[in-house]
């Protein structure tokens, strides 16, 4: 009971605090009226033709024209600075060229600046919010003009590598980079993604605060070329999130006569399925795990995706030749296509061998491709099929994106050793 009282009191101070400082608006219309001038539309345009390539939102956070937006809104500017320019368009219709000052690729944030942008701005502070609190998300969805949408705060996401606020409210394309605020005008988070049906995600404001502190620190200078910075941030981040994968102490799951790795790290989600077709002389059991979150690098590329997939095949009604036809076809089909374009990644190249681990004999395949612009990062696919059974087999594949070559090799070795035969 005492705890509940304490919580209520805390929640009240959160709400009441700012209300004392300034008169909190009473309706959504008031919120819109008061803060719409601080939200801008961001357009990334092709330098030659001035044709729009990307549109998003942003908001003013200083009296010197600093704006916060998502990295993914302005990423074309980083990857192709000769080809693209960006502008901010204010509620009053003023169009101002902007430049990128700082990036946080991992959390999908950027600080940009339009020198002549003045007027009222949001002040970034860390803020604690209670679940269920009403929030207002602002931005330019589908280029329909500045919009305000109501929703509620639903806590932080669990099992993610990057802090994300779960916001129940409609965030639509074009609102990325816009602020989600309290009625009192405090920024809670930055619109970043949606899963549809009003399930939306925000970057917590403290990430934007860190980035602004960095920019405003004395002696801060924006690098001429921001691409190495992107690479550096991904590299740094990799060490943190791949730690559990490199340690090799995985959660396991039993599939038929095999024990296989399952949750490689706490931020993994796993799900399984069985295919039983009464007419088919075989059965398939699938187990998949993966990360729901990834780092946006460009429209065709993402990093930080880790996905694994196991399939147990049993065909006791098939002779060994027919069973291996099934096993072979299935193994060749699995995980063969990826996204990416020629400007950003090379094609894949592979090595395959029959590998004897401490527990099993496997046909193992290691395929890898390199990132052209973010050198030193690779996508890797590890595939393996357990050999030796005449009517039972296990296929597995592990996909890693945006990792160093060394990390890919280390994880591959640990992963292969983690496959076991238990009876």
């Amino acid at each position: 009971m005492r705890l509940r009282v304490a919580l209520v009191a805390w929640a009240l101070t959160c709400v009441a605090g700012p209300a004392l400082a300034q008169q909190e608006p009473s309706s959504t219309a008031d919120v819109f009226d008061r803060y719409s001038g601080r939200v801008v539309k961001i357009e990334v345009r092709e330098a030659g033709s001035a044709a729009k390539a990307v549109t998003g939102s942003g908001f003013l956070v200083s009296d010197r024209g600093h704006l916060i937006t998502n990295y993914h809104v302005i990423s074309k500017l980083i990857h192709d600075p000769e080809r693209y320019v960006a502008v901010a368009i204010t509620e009053a219709g003023q169009t101002v060229p902007v430049r990128v000052l700082a990036l946080d690729v991992v959390h999908d944030l950027a600080v940009i600046q339009g020198e002549v942008l003045v007027g009222s701005h949001f002040t970034l502070t860390e803020i604690a919010v209670a679940q269920g609190r009403r929030l207002y998300s602002m931005g330019h969805p589908y280029e329909l003009g500045l919009t305000i949408a109501e929703g509620t705060f639903n806590g932080m996401l669990e099992h993610t590598r990057y802090e994300r606020i779960h916001f129940t409210g409609p965030i639509n394309p074009g609102m990325s980079g816009g602020p989600t605020i309290t009625a009192g005008g405090e920024v809670v988070g930055i619109n970043v993604a949606t899963a549809g049906n009003e399930v939306s995600f925000l970057v917590p404001v403290r990430r934007a605060l860190r980035l602004m502190e960095e920019v405003q620190a004395p002696g801060y200078r924006t690098p001429d070329d921001l691409l190495p910075l992107v690479q550096h941030q991904i590299d740094q981040h990799q060490e943190a999130y791949l730690g559990p994968l490199l340690a090799g102490d995985y959660d396991t799951v039993t599939m038929g006569p095999y024990r296989v790795p399952s949750k490689l790290a706490p931020y993994f989600n796993c799900w399984g399925d069985t295919t039983t077709d009464d007419d088919a002389p075989y059965s398939l059991v699938d187990h998949q795990c993966g990360t729901d979150d990834y780092i946006f690098i460009s429209s065709d590329m993402e990093s930080g995706v880790v996905r694994l997939w196991h399939r147990l095949l049993e065909g006791d009604q098939l002779n060994r030749f027919r069973f291996y036809s099934l096993y072979s076809d299935d193994f060749q089909m699995a995980d063969r296509w990826f996204a990416g374009n020629e400007d950003e990644v090379t094609r894949f190249t592979c090595e395959d061998r029959t590998v004897r681990t401490s527990h099993l004999t496997l046909k193992a395949v290691f395929c890898v491709r390199g990132y052209r612009k973010l050198q030193g990062l690779y996508d890797a696919v590890i595939k393996a099929a357990v050999l030796g059974g005449t009517d039972v087999g296990l296929e597995t594949s592990l996909v890693l994106s945006g990792v160093s070559f060394e990390n890919a090799l280390d994880i591959m070795a640990r992963y292969l050793e983690a496959l076991e035969w238990i009876r």
């Binding site: 193994f331 395959d352 061998r353 395949v365 390199g370 070559f405 591959m412």
Partner: protein, 320 residues
Amino acid sequence: MDPLGYLEVLDRRGRVVARHAVTGEAITVGRGYDNDLILDDPYVSPHHLAIVRTEDSILARDLDSDNGLFGTGRDRVPHLVLVSGLVFRIGQTELRYQAIGAAVAPTLKETRQHRDLLTVIGTAPRRRLIVLGALVLFATMYYQSSYEEVTRAEAIGGAFGGLVLLGLWAGAWAFAGRVVSQQFRFWMHLTWAALISALFLVTAIVTEYFEFMFSWSSLVGLLMGLVALALFGSGLFGHFGIVGTMPVRRQVAVTAWITAGVVAAMSMFALAAEDTFSNEIPWSGTLKPVGVSLLPKVTVEDFRRRSAALQEEVDGMVQP
């Protein structure tokens, strides 16, 4: 009276379709039934031409026909002196005079390879055995490579599907043979095609096993590629042999050219594929039911080292 030569009627392709002996006596040529040589050409007059002997030559004389007599020139001529090998025209029919001593082309020899083929696939029981053997092989492969519910009837049906394709192929060759050498050897072509396809299939299976067991060591790949090419060449060579008009040397040359063309086209495709960007994993190996003890194996550490060697290749692509 002994003939002095022959008057030959040629078809559009210059081949002889009829001959008439030319003796000292006059010969008449025309569409009428009272001629010595009757031509079914509607452009030829009932009494068109006479071949007569003069003191020192043989003469073709126009009998005041509607469409006339033409020698090598463009204008109609009243008569022509016939010399051996001369081709002339009445109506739309070409005629040739050949003197009795005219040289003939050397005899074509029946080729040895052709005879060998004939002995392998020449007798009906052998042909039946080969086609049946191929059919059994196709049906077995169809069944063993399927993993959905499949009945024996379906497997045999599937194999017959393959046989129908071979039948079309053999039919095309047989038809070509019919046109070129008047020999419609459908069953020989079918048997040969079945034999070569069966060998192809066996090579493909052996290749897959080698690929699985030795992870495509390039030597195995090269060897199997050569076997496949040799089979392709033999297939063509055999079909040409069965058609049977080409001298062996020409047969070898044509086969070599076509095979070289195929190799060149395939290399071009392979090179193009090498340069083309793709998001696909290029690994296309297979799994085979081979006892684990028979497989050459490497340790995880060794596999890691081999995989590490890919970095150089990938980095080379990153910075061309």
